[in-house]
Amino acid sequence: MNVTLILACLLASTFSKNKFGATQKINNICIKNKLTSPGVMDLPHQGYRATKPRARAAPSAGDSVLFDDTSSAAPGMNSQGFYTPAYNMAGPSNDMQGGPGVNNLFADPMASAAMMYGSSLANQGKDMVNKEINRFMSVNKLKYFFAVDTRYVLKKLMILMFPYTHQDWEVRYHRDTPLTPRQDVNAPDLYIPTMAFITYILLAGMALGIQKRFSPEVLGLCASTALVWIIIEVLVMLLSLYLLTVHSDLSTFDLIAYSGYKYVGMIFTVLCGLMFGSDGYYVALAWSSCALMFFIVRSLKMKILPSISSDSMGMGSNSKPQLRLYITVATAVFQPIIIYWLTSHLVR
């Protein structure tokens, strides 16, 4: 017991590079242990499609929509905006509640100290991981794409399968920031593509199992093939957008979202192929290809092609709108090709 405590102290001292040290982390832990929340906000990664996306009440406007955790009372442990209030609370209230409060949990003060050190270690590890991840991609921007609710998902799936009656394709803005998917059905999200990707892999496994061609390696191969095609498509799109100096606000995550929407069509196609045989497969392939092409062209047209009203650069060459149109059409035409490529071997 003492050896583990000493080891924990050594590890904590080596990990804490900042000036704050272990003591303030312990204060932080004490406060957090006081306010243990029953339902911590966890990201919707748990199950595929069976979990209800967070159906929150209508939030107040502004960007507190993303970071407000309305399902728990405690400061959210995942969101970084809440870190400083926890630090501020640690100072004044720790003197009153630190000593006698924690000792009530364990009769043995060594065990409680060890528990504090252990949880401070875990917290420091989590901080390091968060810091490293934030170096590569902005977690806040990623949260925007997962701010969905049930109504949005249902409407978006309907639009993906039948986009011909949807009127307004503009992505609405609110004071220069795009609205979250909860409030705007045209906004791209990453929840549907992620869940559709996972569902596609499982469905591929099931389809192969029905035909007695299943083995666990095939599942991994299918998953990595689909992932590689997404990466290739996103890279080609980024390269073409860069070469043609298209100043659009399409970020990498937007492109990932738009290229991930084809998995919904793929799932539909494979299901029809399994249920109705080869004819059903081709009919469903044609239907989802047309719907997806229409969807992609209408969605990307707003962002890539120059709007007619505001023409700040009057000296654009004549080939520009044509090339941008080519990009949009090429992206759209690529979708049915890849749908066919990735699903034809599942349905014989």
């Binding site: 590689v228 043609l244 100096t245 000296m315 060459s317």
Partner: protein, 81 residues
């Protein structure tokens, strides 16, 4: 085709290497793609060719830095593996 992530990394490394070894004065100037020939319009629409030349030059610059040795070592390992 059944891709793996491994083959994607291999292909990416080989492609970047191919772009990086395009020699500036022996080859690119001969076909009119040298960067000294790209100082053109000062408008804000550079055009595809200029963008492409800038891209090639930037890939070569990055590769000549620390990435050079890393890439060579990594490609030896992967291609032989």
């Amino acid at each position: 085709m059944a891709f793996t992530l491994y083959s994607l990394i291999q292909a990416a490394i080989l492609c970047i290497n191919a772009v990086a070894v395009l020699h500036e004065e022996r080859f690119l100037s001969k076909i009119g793609w040298g960067v000294d020939q790209s100082v053109g319009g000062f408008g804000d629409e550079p055009g595809i060719k200029v963008q492409l030349m800038n891209l090639i030059r930037s890939v070569r610059t990055v590769m000549r830095g620390a990435c050079f040795f890393l890439l060579r070592i990594f490609s030896h390992l992967t291609v032989s593996g």
